[in-house]
């Protein structure tokens, strides 16, 4: 009896122990599975980020290209001169009189066949709501209403201060949203989940409404509409993408021209101006500062509040808009030159960067100047110019000399700067934005927080700085603030606290890199000012997938992009592989492969970890590199009759090429002539040291000119070589955005800083 119970207990104990051990085993195994998924997810994220930032560095290379042109190219024919003229010509800024012409919407007829939304002014809340609904149904707003809305928006924005102040006493609940980047689904979702704007529900949108996504113009229309309807409760901050130069490169210009073929130009012109009128920051209860990028150790809120923000046209280059342009206009017309430069070409980096930035200004330029200019600079400077030399940097001066030396006849004698520097301000008039003011704005629109203390130049982005927790603390104390809200950086969870919860990054474009790549988020503030965060992911499809499936999808997209990048550097990779293969066996070890790839691409990615997905043809830890490169090419090549090295080059320089084409197509017609194409390509390839024959270029040009009319449709060209960035067409499968599972029972919230 006793023994049987003890045996029974013994068995029972053994079974329990077995079950326990079995459970541990399964859990152990499962946790490893999850960890490996997490690693893949993180690697995928690294891929996207490194490619994104590498792309931004291309901007610098683009500048280099044009600098090179300035230094080395002497036009030897009238056509060439004109061609270059157009490239280097500044865009003229619409003056007040011109603005009226551009805003002339009344003459635009809305045909009866138009089925989209109608707007009448002054706008009513119902109009704004109807607009959201119309866009949700994929309708397009007629150009007339677009222009009208922009006209009104501009009027409204112009009377706002640089730093807007909100109070939670007035609006109990303030919702702050980050980057949207043309992703209308996210905006619609935010309104759906959080409620439409109203006097009780204030909104602040923190910049970067446009570019990259495909519905930038619709987002702008909605945002401006609500701004006009609820002027006290609805606020917008300027982001670094509210900038016509950025738009040229990152897709907004293209979107507008595609959607508004007839009036697109007008729309873009007004937008250029409207962007300049966007406020720079918002302050809640004098305690929470909201701005797009970040701060620097020299951020001066008083200065920011005072400056004339309208004159800061673009944060990509320091160009001041002058009030008495009319005088110079007349002079120009009199001299019958296309246009006179009174500052360095708009796309070149001016001496705007902090000293530590590696731009090629300063000594490099000076050296080049002395080589290429046949006439000593000093001889060209006249007495009047010397007078204001002190106000300009030496770099800019040298550049102007170069221009004159290279392009005789194009440049007239310099007009002395109008006497409106700080030293000569007429009392009551705003001084012109100085370099210092311009930098202030660049800093708040471009900076990123970093973990380390201090403040250093943001070389990754090419503008603004990295600011440490001490900089944040210093600023908060100086202005008696509680914390900062900023955007500008994509975060996997849609938000991130840093600097001891004194800085909150909020990013509202979910699935930014790819469907499933990240969540979006917005933050709500009440009178207590404790941030309450809501996350979402605007795509029903991902909702249904398991974690593994979600990660796999995003991963595949990242790997595709990475393979494309590898292909784009095939020649360099081959050279590098050969170095590791002294015996010419055609094989290299996988270790060497990893080292070689990193030394060519400089992306800082975990190549060993990614190797299984990039190289599937390895044996015994070695790889036949030539066949691997061939396999890569097979994936990318769409046209066999085009020389593969040319294609490789096109891929590598895709975004630059597109930008260059758009610059040449200065009237935004979407066409460039065959000649212009050949010219561009000739210049470009000489700069990049590409050995392409003229014949090849002609072949290329002719093959693109599909209808043989001597003109190349830019979009067709880019499309033909799959250089057009794939729009996230997979995302269109969603009919109604959903928040993810985790948030169904409410919202993820975070406590006070």
């Amino acid at each position: 009896m006793g023994s049987s119970t003890s045996i029974h207990h013994h068995f029972a104990f053994q079974n329990a122990e077995k079950a326990f051990k079995a459970a541990i085993l399964i859990q152990r195994w499962y946790r490893r599975y999850v960890a490996r998924l997490e690693m893949r997810r993180q690697c995928t994220w690294s891929i996207f980020q490194s490619i994104e930032y590498a792309g931004q560095q291309d901007q610098v290379k683009l500048h280099d290209f044009f600098s090179y042109l300035m230094d080395h190219f002497t036009p030897d024919s009238h056509q060439e001169k004109e061609f270059l003229d157009r490239m280097f010509t500044e865009e003229r800024f619409p003056q007040e009189a011109e603005m009226e012409k551009y805003s002339d919407y009344e003459s635009i007829e809305v045909p009866d066949s138009y089925t989209g939304p109608h707007l009448s002014f002054p706008l009513l809340p119902d109009h704004a709501t109807a607009l959201v609904e119309a866009f949700r149904l994929k309708q397009q707003l007629h150009a007339r209403y677009v222009l009208n809305l922009l006209y009104e928006a501009r009027k409204h924005l112009a009377q706002l201060p640089n730093i807007n102040r909100l109070s939670t006493c007035y609006s109990e609940e303030i919702t702050v949203c980050g980057d949207l980047h043309g992703q209308l689904d996210d905006l619609i979702f935010i309104f759906y989940k959080n409620g439409l704007p109203s006097p009780e529900r204030a909104y602040v949108f923190n910049g970067d409404f446009v570019d990259r996504g495909k519905d930038s113009i619709e987002i702008l229309m909605v945002l401006f509409a609500f701004m006009l309807v609820y002027p006290k409760e609805f606020h917008l901050n300027r982001g670094n993408h509210e900038d016509h130069l950025m738009n040229l490169r990152y897709g907004f210009t293209k979107e507008v021209m595609q959607k508004y073929k007839v009036h697109g130009k007008k729309i873009l012109r007004i937008l250029q101006d409207v962007f300049c009128w966007l406020p720079l920051a918002t302050l809640i209860d004098e305690k929470v500062l909201i701005l797009h990028g970040g701060v620097s150790d020299r951020t001066d809120l008083e200065l920011l509040a005072k400056l004339d923000r309208h004159k800061i046209v673009s944060t990509l280059r320091y160009k001041i808009r002058k009030e008495n342009d009319r005088q110079t206009e007349e002079k120009r017309k009199a001299h019958q030159t296309s246009s006179a430069q009174t500052s360095t070409p708009w796309f070149l980096p001016q001496s705007r960067s902090p000293p530590s930035l590696p731009f090629h200004l300063g000594s490099d330029k000076a050296h080049k100047a002395s080589l290429s200019s046949s006439v000593p600079c000093s001889a060209l400077l006249e007495h009047t110019e010397l007078a204001w030399l002190g106000r300009r940097s030496v770099d800019q001066e040298l550049e102007r000399c170069q221009q004159r030396a290279s392009f005789p006849g194009i440049w007239e004698k310099e007009e002395p700067l109008p006497q409106t520097s700080e030293a000569h301000t007429v009392p009551g008039e705003l001084p012109e934005p100085t370099l210092q003011e311009w930098r202030q704005v660049v800093d708040i629109l471009w900076s990123d927080p970093m973990m380390q203390e201090g403040c250093k130049a943001n070389t990754v982005r090419g503008g603004g700085c990295y600011f440490g927790p001490d900089v944040t603390e210093q600023l908060l104390q100086k202005y008696n603030l509680q914390f900062l809200i900023r955007s500008h950086e994509c975060k996997p969870e849609g938000y991130e606290f840093c600097h001891n919860r004194k800085v909150l990054t909020i990013f509202s474009a979910s699935n930014y890199y790819e469907v499933g790549s990240n969540r979006g988020a917005y933050v709500k503030l009440g009178p207590s000012l404790s941030p309450y965060i809501v996350q979402y992911q605007a795509n029903k499809a991902t909702h249904m997938l398991t974690m593994r499936q979600r990660i796999s999808r995003v991963e595949e997209s990242a790997l595709r992009a990475l393979r494309e990048k590898l292909f784009a550097h095939s020649s360099d990779l081959l050279d590098e592989f050969k170095k590791h293969d002294a015996d010419k066996t055609g094989l290299i070890t996988l270790t060497d492969w990893a080292a070689a790839v990193e030394s060519v691409l400089h992306l800082g990615l975990p190549w060993r970890m990614l190797r299984p997905q990039l190289v599937n043809s390895s044996m015994n830890n070695t790889l036949e590199y030539r066949s691997w490169l061939k396999d890569l090419a097979k994936e990318q090549l769409s046209r066999e009759n085009i020389q593969s090295s040319l294609l490789e080059t096109l891929y590598r320089n895709r975004s630059n090429l597109e930008t260059i084409f758009r610059i040449i197509d200065s009237d935004h017609s979407g066409f460039i002539s065959l000649d212009e194409f050949r010219q561009t390509w000739k210049l470009f390839s000489s700069h990049m040291n590409i050995d392409i024959t003229d014949d090849c270029i002609c072949d290329l040009a002719r093959s693109i000119d599909f209808n043989k009319d001597g003109h190349i449709d830019i979009n067709e060209f880019l499309e033909a070589f799959r250089l057009v960035e794939q729009s996230s067409s997979e995302g269109q499968a969603a009919d109604c955005p959903q928040s993810t599972n985790a948030n169904d029972n409410g919202c993820s919230s975070s406590g006070a800083p």
Binding site: L25, Q27, R32, Q42
Partner: protein
């Protein structure tokens, strides 16, 4: 570095060297004053002069040493890569909460308890919430060299499920799975449980056919 110790002046080592070299002509040499490679070369050369058989052995010894060194270098690179993925501030530290992920992605499959022990080895005396690479590398290298925490083979995993499936039906109900995973062993968090259920449970039968599940997961991995 481990290999170097072979050539240190410990009595065992020099004795070994002396034995290898047979005649012991170089018995009086202080090996610890020569670099490991130098010592190896020397013994190689002297050995070959004295005894062709020994030469072969020494070359093998040398080659395996070289291979070992390369393997070690490769381990280090792998560990560094995995670490850097989570080193968001690029200052050679990672959040302590990511260590489990890093270790597991390097091929190891520790239990939570074993992970805890490992953590104790890599943490600072005063835990900062961050793990430094300098502390992580040697510990992780040792783990890899000793091939600790090997992954679980499929059949062992299957048997574990079978233990829980006492009635040998070939499946577990959702409730049973939840009970075991959240009450036994090293319990799952609610999030972990939900995530596992989303992929494992067949919504029609509300149960998990564990054999199929394992097969599916294994394919995923590869």
């Amino acid at each position: 570095m481990e290999p170097a110790r072979r050539f240190c002046s410990s009595p065992a080592a020099s004795q070994r060297q002396g034995a290898v070299n047979g005649k012991g002509e170089e018995g009086g040499l202080q090996f610890n004053s020569i670099t490991p490679w130098g010592a190896e070369l020397f013994t190689q050369l002297s050995g070959s002069v004295l005894n062709p058989q020994l030469k072969k052995k020494k070359i093998e010894h040398a080659t395996s040493y070289k291979r070992g060194k390369l393997a070690l270098a490769e381990f280090h690179k792998k560990i560094k890569e995995a670490f850097e993925v989570f080193d968001h501030e690029s200052n050679n530290t990672v959040d302590v909460r990511e260590i489990g992920t890093i270790i597991r992605s390097l091929g190891c499959c520790p239990s939570e308890g074993e992970l805890h022990d490992l953590l104790a080895e890599v943490e600072e005396e005063e835990p900062t919430g961050y793990i430094r690479y300098e502390k992580f590398l040697p510990v992780m290298t040792k783990v890899l060299l000793e091939r600790r925490y090997r992954p679980i083979p499929e059949d062992v995993l299957l048997r574990a499920f079978e233990v829980l499936d006492s009635a040998k039906r070939g499946f577990l109900t959702k409730e049973e799975l939840i009970k075991y995973m959240t009450e036994e062993g090293e319990p799952f968090s609610q999030e972990e449980m939900e995530e596992m259920l989303s992929a494992a449970i067949d919504p029609d039968s509300n149960s998990i056919n564990y054999k199929e599940y394992i097969t599916m997961m294994v394919i995923d991995e590869n």
